[in-house]
């Protein structure tokens, strides 16, 4: 599904931010991307999302060499990837319902065809009574849940989440993780960037991709 070979990235003439990245994300796999703050987790997620181009190495995504893809194909691939940004990136002028429905709306689907799905997912993440609320009046946790719901609504094949439980209480974090688990069981590959050890310990079966000093080490579930 996603394969990094000797991938490195530098900005301008500076030193490499990340380098020698060699790992793959298999279909229906579950992994944590972890490491200290500033180690490069978000950069690696952006490379996975194809919003950054590596300065060396190759990235294979859905069986294609990412460097040879044209824009329309990349757009098509993005529709198969759900992403939860650390800063949520909800559109301030849209309601929670509209923000969550956004990936389906930009696909050109009729609003009536997805209304039930969106409402059900909002109920699931505990935002059933906040459907018409604008992001400005949502708490940090509510924004995070809305961002997660937006990433899940199109049932992506790959979910990239950057600190998805950083702003919610433990009970809600557990509930959201159940959502990720259900999505994983239904066939979605999950990559969660976090430095929350307690969170990772709840998923002994998950791989850990540990970033440190711009390098990445893979610990499979058995050795983790």
């Amino acid at each position: 599904m996603l394969c990094f070979e000797n991938v490195g990235l530098r900005y301008g003439m500076g030193a490499e931010v990340v380098g020698d990245l060699n790992f793959s994300v298999d279909p229906q796999s579950f992994q944590f991307l972890t490491g200290p703050s500033g180690a490069g987790k978000t950069t690696i997620l952006r490379l996975m999302l194809l919003s950054l181009r590596p300065t060396r190495g190759t990235i294979q995504i859905f069986g294609e060499d990412a460097s040879r893809l044209d824009k329309d194909v990349i757009t098509g691939f993005r529709r198969r990837i759900g992403v939860v940004f650390q800063d949520f990136r909800l559109l301030d002028h849209l309601t929670t319902y509209e923000n969550v429905a956004l990936p389906l709306r930009v696909m050109g689907r009729n609003e009536a065809s997805y209304r039930a799905e969106v409402v059900e997912l909002l109920d699931w993440v505990g935002l059933g009574d906040r459907k018409n609320a604008l992001p400005a009046v949502l708490s940090g946790g509510e924004k995070q849940r809305a961002a997660i719901a937006r990433a899940l609504i199109a049932r992506p094949e790959l979910l990239l989440a950057d600190e998805p439980t950083g702003n919610v209480d433990p009970a809600m974090a557990k509930r959201l993780l159940r959502l990720f688990v259900e999505l994983h069981k239904s066939g979605t590959a999950i990559v969660i960037a976090t430095h929350d050890l307690a969170l990772m310990d709840q998923f002994g079966y998950a791989r850990r991709l540990v970033v440190g000093d711009g390098r990445l080490t893979v610990y499979d579930a058995e050795t983790a």
Partner: protein
């Protein structure tokens, strides 16, 4: 969660659900500022364009009026009955089929013409003041003038015919300069307006970069994103252009009304002679409409280009 087909769950009949907000915020401070800038620039562009049209039309009017007018001058000589010569020359001119109207200025009218230079209250009866006959030709054909000149020379040898050629050529030059100046002013105005709208659109777009990025990351095609922004900014452009264009049209209508009311005064007649009656012709309305539509299209196209540039940067 269901399978994503949307067919397993009943569609909630939630009439309270807000779900039709445009992807680009319809009302924002930057958007309102852009509307104001566009309205002002459209107003000024319409004033310049319609002003240029009015001047061009008025100058055509002057030229047509003046070029059809010629003057017969009879200088008084001792022992001659000037009044008889004037009557005879008037009769000869009136007989010509090429002449539309003849008006012989009376002695007092001729003396009245000198008042601006000599002052009022003087006895001018002793001065040999030439007598003038104003002739309006049907057309400005040189052959018509020559036949009139020949008839006058034969009947009244003392009369001379002035076709105002020198003054007319100066007037032509002046009118051409005014029209060219108005056209150049309009072109400069259009360039300034396009630049100002370009900057204002870029400013308004700057606040929307976040929206472009989010739409990009959730899988919206570039064309889809560009269409959203183009439609939004074209609407803003249309709103601003409609306000500016309407204000210009109202101003010209008011000026036309004022001009009609003040036509009876000497000043009003002079203004009407110089600039016409300020009445908007169909051409002026078309010009205002075309300017408004062009400004809206320009705003939409600029925003589209800015979106594509930003998406190129993201890629």
């Amino acid at each position: 969660m269901n399978d994503g087909s949307g067919g397993e769950l009943p569609i909630p009949a939630d009439s309270q659900l807000k779900r039709d907000m445009p992807l680009v915020p319809a009302d924002s401070i930057a958007g309102r500022a852009l509307v104001v800038v566009i309205a002002i620039m459209t107003f000024l562009a319409c004033l310049t364009a319609v002003g240029a049209l009015l001047i061009a039309e008025a100058s055509q009017g002057w030229r047509a009026d003046v070029s059809r007018e010629v003057t017969i001058q009879i200088k008084p000589h001792p022992g001659e009955d000037v009044q008889a010569l004037v009557s005879k020359a008037t009769e000869v001119a009136a007989r010509s089929s090429d002449v539309a109207d003849v008006h012989a200025l009376s002695k007092s009218e001729s003396e009245h013409l000198l008042e601006p230079w000599l002052g009022q209250g003087l006895d001018l009866s002793q001065l040999p003041i030439p007598r003038l006959i104003v002739v309006h030709m049907q057309t400005r054909q040189q052959s018509d003038l020559e036949s009139l000149r020949a008839a006058l020379t034969e009947a009244v040898p003392q009369a001379s015919l002035d076709d105002h050629a020198l003054w007319l050529s100066r007037l032509d030059t002046m009118a051409d300069v005014i029209v060219i100046f108005a056209a150049a002013l309009f072109v400069l105005m259009i360039i300034a307006m396009a630049t100002a709208i370009g900057f204002a659109t870029r400013g308004a777009m700057a606040g929307n970069r976040e929206i472009i990025e989010v739409l990009h990351f959730v899988g919206a095609e570039d064309r889809y994103i560009a269409r959203q922004f183009q439609t939004h900014f074209m609407r803003l452009g249309l709103r601003g252009a409609a306000i500016g264009g309407s204000a210009a049209a109202i101003l010209f209508l008011a000026a036309s009304l004022f001009s009609a009311l003040s036509y009876s005064s000497a000043g009003g007649r002079e203004i009407a002679a110089l600039f016409g009656a300020f009445s908007l012709t169909a051409g002026a309305y078309v010009a205002i409409f075309v300017i408004c539509a062009a400004i809206a299209a320009l705003t939409g196209l600029l925003s589209r280009q800015i979106v594509f540039n930003h998406l190129r940067e993201l890629a």
